[in-house]
């Protein structure tokens, strides 16, 4: 089984996810700028989610770039990741429409957490298919500190959003986005090392 159609299909699904989120931004019935202010929370939640989906697309791109083969387990691990990402428009819309109510912000964090777990599972499946010894990816990921830190942020942010303050929760959820936004040079470095 070759990886091209897997990449193309994932690109398609991610492209649709990132775009249909904007459909939650319902057009206001009044034609005044004041009508936009009530859309502000939905807009902000859209911005955060757009960046998150962008990061996932970028990381997904890197992940599959290193893999030569795909098997059934990788295919389903990939669909599992796409499943949680596909719930992001729903979570984004719910959080935005309810002005970051505690439950909605915590729920948003839960979806981010489950997507991150799914991404880690996919990473593990790809590494195990290629053999841990020779895997460019295994060396690049190393001890996976970035992955662990992200999971920790979601784990901490979810109860804080619900029990303490949703705004602190949102701030915590934005941390991994910033961390991943800075491009993940690990994989590129390993590819360069191998080329030498």
């Amino acid at each position: 089984m070759n990886k091209n159609r897997l990449e193309a299909f994932s690109d398609g699904v991610i492209a649709i996810i990132i775009t249909i989120m904007v459909l939650e931004l319902k057009v206001p019935h009044e034609g005044e700028f004041s009508a936009l202010t009530e859309k502000l929370p939905t807009f902000l939640s859209y911005v955060v989610s757009f960046i998150y989906v962008g990061i996932y697309w970028n990381n997904h791109h890197h992940l599959l770039h290193t893999s030569k083969r795909v098997n059934g387990a990788i295919l389903w691990a990939n669909l599992h990741l796409l499943f949680w990402l596909s719930l992001l428009p729903f979570a984004t819309g719910w959080m935005g429409e309810n002005h970051f109510a505690p439950a909605t912000t915590a729920f948003y964090g839960i979806i981010l957490l489950l997507a991150a777990i799914a991404f880690n599972i996919l990473q593990i499946k790809i590494i195990s298919e290629h053999g841990k010894e020779n895997s460019t990816l295994a060396k690049a990921v190393g001890s996976g500190n970035k992955e662990k830190l992200s999971l920790a942020c979601y784990f901490v942010g979810i109860p804080i959003s619900y029990f303490v303050s949703q705004w602190i929760g949102v701030a915590i959820f934005v941390l991994p986005a910033i961390m991943w936004f800075l491009p993940d040079r690990r994989i590129e470095k390993e590819i360069e090392k191998k080329a030498e």
Copy 2:
């Protein structure tokens, strides 16, 4: 006519189908976790359909992998399959919103049945284009026990959903999904045999 654009187009349609299903998960207007519980049936129906579409994409991938040429009949058999799959978001939403009411569950089974029949027709058209003797696919499919068993499940599940219990019906509809979820090694085995 080459098969690349057929694959790309099918991937596009399937990617959209799997993603727009989530649009049936309407964002609740209350920002409490309790608002999510009424979404549970819609969510469950979404999970089942997501897995089904994932299976179809996977099997479609295998099916076209073995075929070298496509003709007009294959093209229309493919569009016929996409047509029934495109009704899955509607059937999923109807079943979820009405909490698996008997008629909606039976209707869901009918769409699954028609999609399965369409898949079998596509399989037959691809085999006949390539000649039954030399076809990797013909050997892989063999007597088509898996295909027959799936059709039997849908045939039995539809009246049971409507006249007996929708929950038994749903359980029966989930069986083929489990069976196909386990990757179909038949085609891969035949490809390996040929390579030896």
Copy 3:
């Protein structure tokens, strides 16, 4: 400029058009089969449009298969075709929801007519880019009887839908679909001739 990205983009747009039409099939709030009967006109209009978009995708595939280069005029002629096709979901939904009311059926015919004209313009632009003498497409299209017959059907069907009977109009609109459904062997024949 190469044609691959033009094909990929057109495939994407056509795949989305064919799939979002199903979003006009709104999920009924009652969970009885009787709730589906009122959806029947929308469903029928969806079937007709699905076949039409399938035909356009198929013909578009053939059209670009013969062309080696694309220029700015071809690119805009292609977007012009996609524009009218993009209005098909709207026209389909309007016709279906209003149970084939005369004005809606006539409007549906107008969109079909404009899409057909756009397709002819695209064909002319591709032929002129490649030079009429050497163009495989020019020879395949020949006097363009099929194209002329389709346009005639739309021209006749529109006033009949509005002033006489929408059902006769629909029957006339289905004629070109049947005619084009039978695969257009002209282009394939010319390609074969050239290969000899």
Copy 4:
């Protein structure tokens, strides 16, 4: 990192943006032609946006055609462009539904302005990656008069839409579309020069 997946992903997102705009054209509940007249402003705003997205796709195509490599900065500059383009369906729908009310027309211009700025940033990032001396793109763009003129139109059109007349504003917003509609031969010329 190679540019193919970036092109494919951008094509996917742009194809979805251009198509979901039509979803703002809500199907009227009456089946008379008179029901279409109230849709006219939405339709007109759809036409303008369709042409704008078509132009962006076309220019994006040219831009990436000249670039051999992509880096992290280009990737995010590209997502930044897609972000503003993804808000075009919202801006289009708002303007259309409110019959070009001043605030909505000015907002539409703001989105056009931000998309244009994003496009310029992307252009700068691609040029700097390839080295200003050798860049085909740098030579093609030259002093960037077309880009500067477009930005000027948006800058002028926004306050005019809001404070003077939205119709003059719309007319000003249409000017860059006409200017870009005429295909940008600069890049093609530079490619030809290099080939000599």
